[in-house]
Amino acid sequence: MNPFIEIITQPDNIAIVIMILMVSFFMVWAFQQAFQNDKLKSAGYAVDGELDKDVDTFKPLVRIELLISLAVMLFLTVWSIVVDAPLEEIANPTLTPNPAKAPWYFLGLQELLVYFDPWLAGVVLPSLIVVGLIAIPYIDINPKGNGYYTFSERKYSILIFSFGFFVLWLLLIVIGVFDRGPGWLWYWPWQEWDIQRVVYEPTRDLSNLVGIESRSLPGFIIGAVVVGAYMIGGMIWPYKYWQKKNPEMLQQLGMTRYVTIVFLFITMMSVPIKMILRLVFLVKYVWITPWFNV
């Protein structure tokens, strides 16, 4: 069978295909409504739903709830009849499958293992994701766009969230499911997996680029400087920028909010930056310390 069809029809991967379809559909729908509302607003009309009146819960809401429930149950029943849940061989602690994959919704994090050490990819970043998500309502002080789809009124927050959600979370999951084969090597979905394949990819550390041993003191210092500069520079530069451009907003934000926002943002952006460093410049570590590596 065609490897592509084989991999997307694997029982567990069907869920991922369904996820891709559903997420794409709702993404398009959300943005379509957002742009429509923007248009209405700029033309001076009320946005969708703004002029709505109250209606009885019984029956309109109850009816639609019933219908959706029936539809969902029908969908799940069909899914369950058509596809049987797989049961692999009995657990064997001595036999590691290659590749050994985490549950699919954590594959984005597993994918990060290529670029970060486990303590970052597996512990610090996920914790920051949760903390960051919870923090969103408290750091987003833009009062607009509450209760309706819009894009133009919340450009930045939507862009940042979409980048995190679609690219850093969902895209990495899809990559982990469909494009990672034995040895966590890259395979296109239509490529045959080969257990014996070895890709020799010499990696180096950042300070090696300028010819300094990364495990030496100078290497340590260079790494510390680069990481420190990224963090501190990332903090200061937007501050200066906004001070010039939009000091009121900065005033509104306050120092605590500002630091939280920027810290979360630069941490999030460190992921694509590290990915580019790794994939384009073959840099494994930026900073090597005796305790941890970044």
Partner: protein
């Protein structure tokens, strides 16, 4: 036909259950909601936008429905399952080959779980896109994030239960992350200063052992079947409650 209807409706049992007739007037429509323990979660009147599919996509409700389906199928599955290394896998095989409706129950549970994870993520996306986390709903968004994490954990703990290669190694890979926790995991940074070994670190606490074994299976089982559903239910109650108390489904402010 009408006679029959009337007979049934005048019946003592029918009356005891439904208490009163439904006549399509304002009062009865309201009574239908707050006279019903399941429906009175809703307000008597909602905004028209809440009824429109294009606004909410029904995602929160679908998530709740998935949770209910999973609870029901999960309870059925629990009847046929022993969380021990010796029996777990055989029980799965028996479920497939011997238990009446075993296959369909397991399929519903498995695919329902995948479905719930997908739907809960889309729900979060919708709530973000409509800005519904903004005041006064900040706290409820936080609850929602925790519920999202709990959904992941529910699925994750359930992964191990069949005791097959897929689940075993998925859990092994997943919990190995715990070993890398700074300070508290034996492979994590600074752990040597706290005298952390594979036998007293975070992962050991998660698995009840240094490797995935019988204890890990039991812990997964208890987290999956009792602890997390309990916590999630409590948080769901709060979540739903807050949806109403924060003014129902969010909507454009009337200026």
């Amino acid at each position: 036909m009408n006679d029959l209807f009337n007979k049934v409706k005048k019946n003592l049992i029918w009356k005891s259950v439904f208490r009163r007739d439904y006549r399509d007037n304002v009062r009865d429509r309201a009574l239908a909601i707050f006279g019903n323990v399941f429906l009175h979660l809703h307000p008597v009147k909602v905004r028209e936008s809440a009824v429109k599919l294009r606004y909410t996509w029904g995602m929160g409700g679908i998530t709740f429905l998935a949770f209910i389906i999973l609870t029901i199928t999960g309870v059925v599955l629990m009847f046929y399952y022993h969380p021990t290394v010796d029996q777990a896998y055989s029980d799965m095989k028996d479920l497939e080959f011997q238990v009446p409706y075993g296959v369909i129950t397991r399929n519903l549970h498995r695919w329902g779980a995948h479905f719930m994870v997908i739907v809960v993520m889309i729900h979060m996306f919708r709530v973000f896109m409509t800005g519904s986390y903004k005041a006064p709903r900040q706290f409820n968004w936080g609850i929602g994030v925790i519920l999202l994490v709990l959904t992941f954990l529910l699925s994750f703990t359930g992964y191990l239960l069949p005791w097959d290669q897929l689940g075993f190694w998925a859990i092994t890979v997943g919990t190995n992350m715990g070993a890398a926790t700074p300070l508290l995991g034996y492979q994590g940074p600074f752990s040597e200063y706290l005298h952390i070994t594979p036998y007293n670190d975070v992962r050991f606490a998660l698995l009840g052992g240094a490797i995935v074994g019988g204890n890990a299976l039991l812990r997964s089982y208890i987290w999956h079947c009792i602890a997390i559903p309990l916590i999630a239910t409590i948080l769901m109650v709060v979540h739903f409650w807050r949806v109403r108390k924060d003014g129902g489904i969010s909507r454009p402010q009337n200026n």
